[in-house]
Structures are given as C-alpha cells and as structure tokens.
C-alpha cells in the first residue's frame, strides 16, 4: 500500500446558498481544491452526499459533478453513509490512491438542505435512523440524541447547563472563520434559555442545517512534495459500524463504532490520543461531543462533559475541538461535513488557520459520525513540511 497525501483543499462558505444549486456548490469547492493543487485533471472523483435525491430530486452526483468540472470520461461516483458521507468519500479516495488504482483523486463533499421546509429536512435527516423501528414511532433524529443525553445525565449526574461550553466554544472559534455559518458569540445564559427541540436537547445543543461543499485533492505521498508546497499526510483512515438503531446497541452510551474506528486509526498511525494536537469531532449535538471524547480516549466514561466544564476543549486547552467552529457554528451540511473537518484540519497543519491557529500543530484527528452513531470514520492527518 502507498501512503496518501492531501495536495489541495477548497471550500465554500457554509450557510444559505439560494443562488447556488447542488452542482454549483460542488463545482466551486472542487475548482478551489484543484486550483490549490495546481491541477486541471484527476483520475477519479468521489462525491460525498447524503440527501440530494430526497431534497433536490437529483441523484447520480458522480457523473453530474464530473461533467460540470469538464472531467470527461473520468471515473466518478457518489458515496453515501448518512452524515458520514463526506469522510466516506475521502476513505474511498484514500483506498484508490493507496492501492495504486489511481494517482490523482478529487474528493468533494456537498449538501443542500435549505431549499426545503424544516419539516421536510427533518424527515430526510431521519432517514439515517431505522425507518421500520425508530422513525415509524415518531422519533426525529434530534430525539434520538435527546434519548442519549437524558440517559447520560441520569447515569453520571450531569446537568443540562454542564453541556453549555461545547456550544459556547464552537461559536467563539467560528468568529475567526470566514467560511462559518454563524459569526455570533453565545453565553451559557443564552444556552440555558434556548427553546427545547426534544427534551433535554435545546436549540443551542444542536448544529444547524446548512448548504455547503468542501473538497480535497489526493496524491501518492511519495511525490506529493513535488506537487504541493505544503502537503498533508493521511496517517490513518478507519471506518467502523454499529447497529443503526440506538435500541439495538448493547450499551447505547458507549458509542462503540467511535471507539473501534479511533482504535484502528491509532493503531495504523502508531500513536495514542496523547499525541493528537487537536480533534475535529462530530459535534452535531453536545451529547455527541461528550460521547466522542470518551470513545476516542480523551476522557474516561462519563467524564467527556468535564473537559467542557473545565475549559480543556478551547484552543489552549488539553484537547482543542471544533477549532474553526465545528458542526455547531461552522454549520453542518451533512454530506459535506466530514470534508469540512478535513479541510480545516489541513489548514491547521499547514499553519494557515489564522487567529485560530493551534501553535505547532503536527497531528490532527477528524471524526465523522453517520446517524446516531452507526457509521464512524476517523482520520489522522500529519504535517509533512
């Protein structure tokens, strides 16, 4: 197997893109990544996306985006794994380059969620859950996270307000990210007063639905330095799964697929959590941040929230998370989110994260979660120069 590096990155602003269709968004991020890599052609294109069919009536995104980019005849397809679709596309691109079946690969994650009503988007998101045994009962995706949060608070004695810092820190970090959806500081008081979506999950526990696209260009690490002044090495790429339905998991609070994919990634990279300089985790809901920190080995069981309460998740804390705003404040265009995490991690590792730069960042980890924890994809990235 060959080592794989990122030689170009690109992203659109996250937010409400009334004037851009799903093809336009994918095109903008892809062109930015190709420009950054100083390339016009690639051998293959993988598009990460969850709900284009349901929301925009458009599937077949691989050929659609390849054609828009003028990549006539190229291998291209859409990769879907619910909210982990972006990282799943990166995983496929990494396999293609590592195996030698392709040299230059473009990976783009794209999602358009704001052309439809909130209720339709809620229903489309619920498709990440078990249709026959969860969604049929009136359980929204938010409610599944709420069930986990309530149980977590019950088992470990945390209060709702203890989760506030996950949202406060994400919004603070987004202030310096020009591509973030929100540039708006929030306070613990504001968090406490936010209206309930599904108890105990309030509006400020949840990431927003968004439009956006982010892309990378991959190349064999051996000659990445000849193509890019600042390549980033993919030290590890790991996928793990768990039952789709929360009720089918032996221990719903364990986030078993996160533990497994993080362990596989640590083994592949030959490092442990103590070596990671920052962690772009999947903060779709505050409870997911707590469970991810525990599953990835940054906190003991039931203690993930303590890292937020004690300020250890800020840019100067023990394990900085959501350094460019995370899902909560950069925004969560579901199928693009995993690619935003990777693009932001690459910015940190190139030293281009501006006011949010983590000093001397060498190893960054991203973790993208599909559904309420069924598909979990971890990447460890390393600065090469």
């Amino acid at each position: 197997m060959r080592k794989v590096a990122i030689i170009g990155i690109g992203q659109t602003k996250v937010g409400e893109h009334w004037s851009l269709g799903i093809r336009d968004l994918a095109l903008q991020a892809s062109l930015a990544a190709l420009r950054d890599a100083n390339l016009e052609k690639v051998d293959a294109l993988y598009v990460g996306n969850m709900m284009s069919g349901e929301i925009t009536g458009q599937e077949h995104l691989g050929a659609l985006v390849a054609d828009a980019l003028g990549l006539r005849g190229v291998e291209a397809m859409k990769i879907e794994a619910a909210c982990a679709s972006g990282s799943a596309a990166l995983r496929v691109g990494t396999l293609a380059v590592a195996s030698g079946m392709a040299d230059l690969v473009l990976v783009v994650g794209v999602e358009k969620m704001l052309d439809t009503s909130g209720r339709e988007t809620t229903s489309a998101l619920a498709m990440a859950a078990d249709a026959e045994y969860e969604v049929s009962q009136g359980v929204s995706f938010v409610a599944l996270n709420a069930l986990l949060m309530r149980r977590y608070m019950h088992e470990y004695g945390w209060k709702r307000e203890d989760f506030a810092n996950f949202a406060v820190v994400a919004h603070e970090n987004a202030m310096n990210n020009p591509n973030a959806m929100f540039h708006l500081r929030i306070t613990p008081e504001k968090y406490a007063k936010a209206p309930m979506i599904a108890t105990p999950v309030g509006l400020l526990d949840a990431s927003p639905v968004s439009d956006g696209a982010a892309a990378v260009v991959l190349a064999p690490a051996d000659y990445a330095r000849t193509l890019s002044p600042a390549p980033v090495l993919i030290r590890a790429s790991a996928v793990a799964t768990a039952p789709v339905a929360v009720h089918d998991r032996k221990d719903p609070l364990a986030l078993e697929a996160a533990r497994l994919s993080a362990r596989k990634a640590y083994e592949a990279a030959g490092v442990g959590p103590e070596a990671i300089d920052f962690f772009e985790l999947h903060d779709a809901f505050t409870i997911m941040s707590a469970l991810s920190l525990e599953a990835a080995g940054f906190a003991e069981r039931g203690r993930g929230v303590a890292l937020a309460v004690e300020g250890e998740i800020t840019r100067t804390g023990r394990i900085p998370i959501a350094t460019m705003g995370g899902l909560k404040a950069r925004g969560h265009p579901v199928g693009a989110t995993g690619m935003y995490q990777v693009v932001e991690a690459a910015l940190q590792l190139r030293g281009l994260a501006g006011a949010n730069q983590i000093p001397n960042a060498r190893l960054g980890m991203t973790q993208n979660i599909g559904g309420s924890g069924a598909t979990i994809i971890t990447h460890i990235l390393e600065r090469m120069v």
Binding site: E54, S123, Y133, G138, V139, S140, M196, I197, V246, D248
Partner: protein, 132 residues
Amino acid sequence: MIEKVADNWRLRGQRYRLEGEVCPHCGAVIFPPRDICPECGKPAKEPKPLSGRGEVYSFSTVYSPPEGFEAYVPYTVALVKLEEGPMVTAQLTDVAPDEVEIGMKVEMVTRKLRARGEEGTIIYGYKFRPML
C-alpha cells in the same frame, strides 16, 4: 417520507403483538426479529411473542416532529427495556410528559401511530403506558 401500507402489513406481527425471536443456540431473546442472533451469530428464527412489559431506559418530549406527526406535538418517545432483555423505541401514552421518569414500569398497548399513511389508511402500532 410516510411509510407504505405494505410496510405496515409486513410488520404486523411486530407492530400488533411485539413478536420477537428466541435463539435456539444461546437462548437470547431478539426484538426486532432479525433471523441471525446478535449475541452468538447463529441462525435464530424461532418466533417468540414478548410480554410487552418493561421499564423506561430514557425518554424525550418532542416539540419539532418529522412529517406525519405534527398533530401529536408535544409527544413523548422512550427507549423501553423489555423484561425479556431487548430494548424498543416507542411513544409513551396515557401519561403527562412531566410525570415520566427513568425506571418507570410500563406495558405495551396498541394505539393509533399516525392518522393517515400514504393511502389514507390509519396506522396502528405499539405504544407503552404506565403499568396499571
């Protein structure tokens, strides 16, 4: 997406009678039925109706529902740990949201899940109420 009439017909054993399976190899009780035992990985197709009794593992009151459930807001959903072992996701009924607590004993009842499915039919299924 509103589910099809065919889905409801196909799942009638589960929806109306909470029909699960028992593994002939390790004795695990399985719900929903899946034909392969999640405990030992061997085939498990022996039907087993469940008692419908259990307790609340967690719960949430929903204010922002998916399509088809707008008329019922706010309603409370729960993870119910059945006394035979499996966990099931279902709505609670005959109880006010602020009276629900973790550990509360509940039992299954058949109730209307949604007024109208795709073809205007009424969809029935299991819900759980406080044990009488």
